[in-house]
Symmetry: C2
Subunit: 435 residues, 2 copies
């Protein structure tokens, strides 16, 4: 169950047409990259470069394993964050129940590599997509796949596609309960219950559980978020009780799933419940695995404050993802232009955060940047680093700047290969993404 076969990925040959690959190096299979002895700080790699710090990844895997174990919930991490099966394999090895995906292409990648429990935190729709799912179920008798349904129109479309190409077993749907003013999801208890009855009566779809997504309601105020998310969990529970009482659930157990990366602790405490059959409470956090240096780092304070005890004192999630660039120009006082732009690092929540500096030939290890060094904007291929007035300590042309990012999803999709590094920035391997 859920054994990922990474051999086809590790055998893939990478060359210098891939961003970040050393420009004069010969093509290499992914598996050979960690043995080359490359080091970012020694100048072996072209910049900009996205790297994943092995130590932070390992820490985060252990942290989330302990958190889910302590709270008694399961984890199907959202694979859309990294779309990196090598990281999926680490997540499954650390105890994840399965994986979450956002669409059928992502499901296909998981199924092909051996993942056998997949949630799609999205509506299944489209004749081609439905038939692809049916084909995957036929090819993999042990594939367990659950998707979201939030409207009768969607259910009818699935049934029409399945009528052309009958599935080998019933498709498993989770009713999505939504929030007024929110994204997808049936807006009311009554609409969701009516839809659950329609699914339970379907000839080709079975009701395997309920889903919601609390992540878009998060304000960052720890207490406020606890109330808002708690109320949503109560709505899911009320719907689950009614579906259970009416015998609408079809499987040996019932899946209740929620939980992005901002308030998964509230879900872990508030969503578990008892029904007439076993309940699997499944979190879907995706960003915990790399964490970040912006949005999720700020939100982690709320997770820790609400979780109390050990979680307040033990080291929290660590930022694993950094993008390094070079100072290419210092054209005016207090301004440095970096070789990094919208093609290389997230900018959808805020600009990258300058964390570290390294002057080749002078520094033996990266130093923290002074307070007040701020990236104020990016163009496609450039970043603007504003610094304070202390000229003696200013950046110089040729300096390397290591940046944290905010929102890992929108950095991962800019890199086909990310290098993993140890704490001395030696390259230990290469991670392939599938976007």
């Amino acid at each position: 169950m859920n054994t990922i076969d990474l051999s086809p990925i590790l055998a893939e040959v990478v060359d210098s047409t891939t961003k970040g690959y050393p420009l004069s190096a010969l093509p290499l299979p992914l598996s050979a990259i960690g043995a080359q002895g490359w080091n970012l700080l020694r100048g072996d790699l072209p910049l900009p470069l996205a790297v994943l710090r092995d130590s932070a990844l390992a820490h985060n895997h252990a942290w989330m394993r302990d958190f889910t174990a302590a709270t008694g919930v399961l984890l199907a991490p959202h694979g859309k964050t990294t779309m990196a099966p090598q990281i999926f394999a680490q997540q499954l090895a650390a105890g994840a129940w399965g994986m979450t995906v956002a669409n059928v292409q992502q499901l296909g990648i998981c199924a092909r590599l051996g993942v056998r429990r997949v949630l799609m935190a999205n509506q299944l729709l489209g004749t081609l997509e439905v038939r692809t799912v049916i084909g995957l179920l036929r090819r993999h008798p042990d594939l367990e796949f659950h998707f979201l349904v939030d409207s009768p129109a969607q259910l009818a479309a699935i049934e029409a596609a399945a009528a052309i190409d009958p599935p080998p077993r019933k498709l498993h749907a989770l009713i999505e309960l939504g929030v007024p003013g929110g994204r997808t999801g049936a807006r009311t208890h009554d609409a969701a219950l009516a839809l659950a009855r329609q699914v339970a009566a379907s000839r080709c779809v079975a009701l395997s559980g309920l889903e919601c997504y609390e992540g878009l309601q998060i304000s960052g105020d720890a207490a406020d978020d606890a109330r808002t998310v708690g109320a949503l969990m109560q709505r899911v529970q009320a719907l689950a009780l009614e579906c259970d009482r009416d015998g609408l659930f079809a499987g040996p157990d019932v899946i209740l799933t929620a939980g992005g990366s901002a308030a998964f602790d509230i879900v872990a405490r508030e969503l578990p419940m008892r029904l007439s059959r076993p309940v699997l409470t499944i979190l879907r956090s995706g960003c915990y695995v790399t964490h970040d240096s912006g949005n999720y780092e700020r939100l982690l304070a709320g997770v820790k404050a609400r979780s109390g005890g050990e979680w307040q004192t033990r080291p929290g999630l660590q930022p694993a993802l950094e993008v390094w660039a070079r100072v290419q120009s210092c054209p005016e006082p207090r301004l440095a232009i970096l070789t990094m732009g919208k093609r290389d690092a997230s900018y959808d929540i805020e600009m990258p955060i300058a964390l570290k500096r390294f002057r080749p030939g002078a520094d033996s290890a990266p130093r923290a940047v002074p307070a007040g060094w701020t990236i104020t904007g990016m163009n496609d291929q450039h970043a603007y680093l504003r610094v304070d007035a202390d000229a003696a300590d200013s950046p110089q042309v040729g300096d390397l700047i290591g940046c944290g990012i905010s929102h890992p999803c929108t950095t991962f999709d800019k890199w086909r290969v990310l290098f993993t590094v140890d704490d001395a920035y030696r390259v230990t391997g290469a991670i392939r993404t599938f976007f």
Copy 2:
């Protein structure tokens, strides 16, 4: 000269791990995709999907060929926009002098495929990068490569790298003249002239011309932009005259280059000049090739107004790039959720622009969306389409929505393969990007 060998790209095999590739189709070489008879509107392709309209691409190639011919300037289109050598080949076939790139990785891709005139509209820096350039010059005796220099520190770093690994011929530098408050570039005439003298005196670098970038100064006010850009062109000309008088230029001709995609017409009119040796005036526009439905469409009005005559009346550049998605949920009145998000379409200048709708089973061709349908936001994998109150004409679950984008660069980098389509949305081929 500049003959691109596309055979390694066309032989590359694509499969359903690539976003947009039909999920149940067998792997195919890129060259075979156009013969499959796939059609977006018939549901042969998973959504979201980015497509390039062949007719618009052909129109834009011809438009820019005519524009540069009429104004007597050369074109080295910025390849960073598409990073698609198949499109580079079209641009060169339409008469482009060479290509522009943003970094040494992009140069490497151009050189490897056969492009022999490359401008890098960026500072060359980094020992690895300088030595890569030297290696490329050694491997390709006919490669003509010009990069930017804007500081003595950068020049010294290049000279230090070249001292380790002497180049087979002098490296060709363009002095970048900058704008106070702008990005890179020497800020003053005197600083730029002093740097030009240093380059002219260098043992390994020769001065081949001057560069500036006017694109960050553009306000969208046609007359205002004409004044601002005109003044910058005059500064370049004054510097060129002085460099020429002092014999600082080294080549058989002098390169003067400017021109993004917003105000290339002003550059084409204002930058050409006479010096003691032939002057090559080279535009670097990248976005003209696909144009867009937002930012550049608005800016084109200024280009046309300033250029007058024929350019005001003949059809302007056409948007070639569209991203199609499906309505997956209509959870509230006046709201439709689309299967498209930050992973799929540009959002850095504005949200995608809903242009077309197609209801499978009901429509025979796409229809224009009603006025007022607006995408108001995107998450990683979802878009929010707000519509007016006319329920009879509202989107339905399963409808396809075709969106224009604003700023093509940040859509191209989200797709490893984009399909080309004819006006009936039949797939005619596949374009591979290198990000």
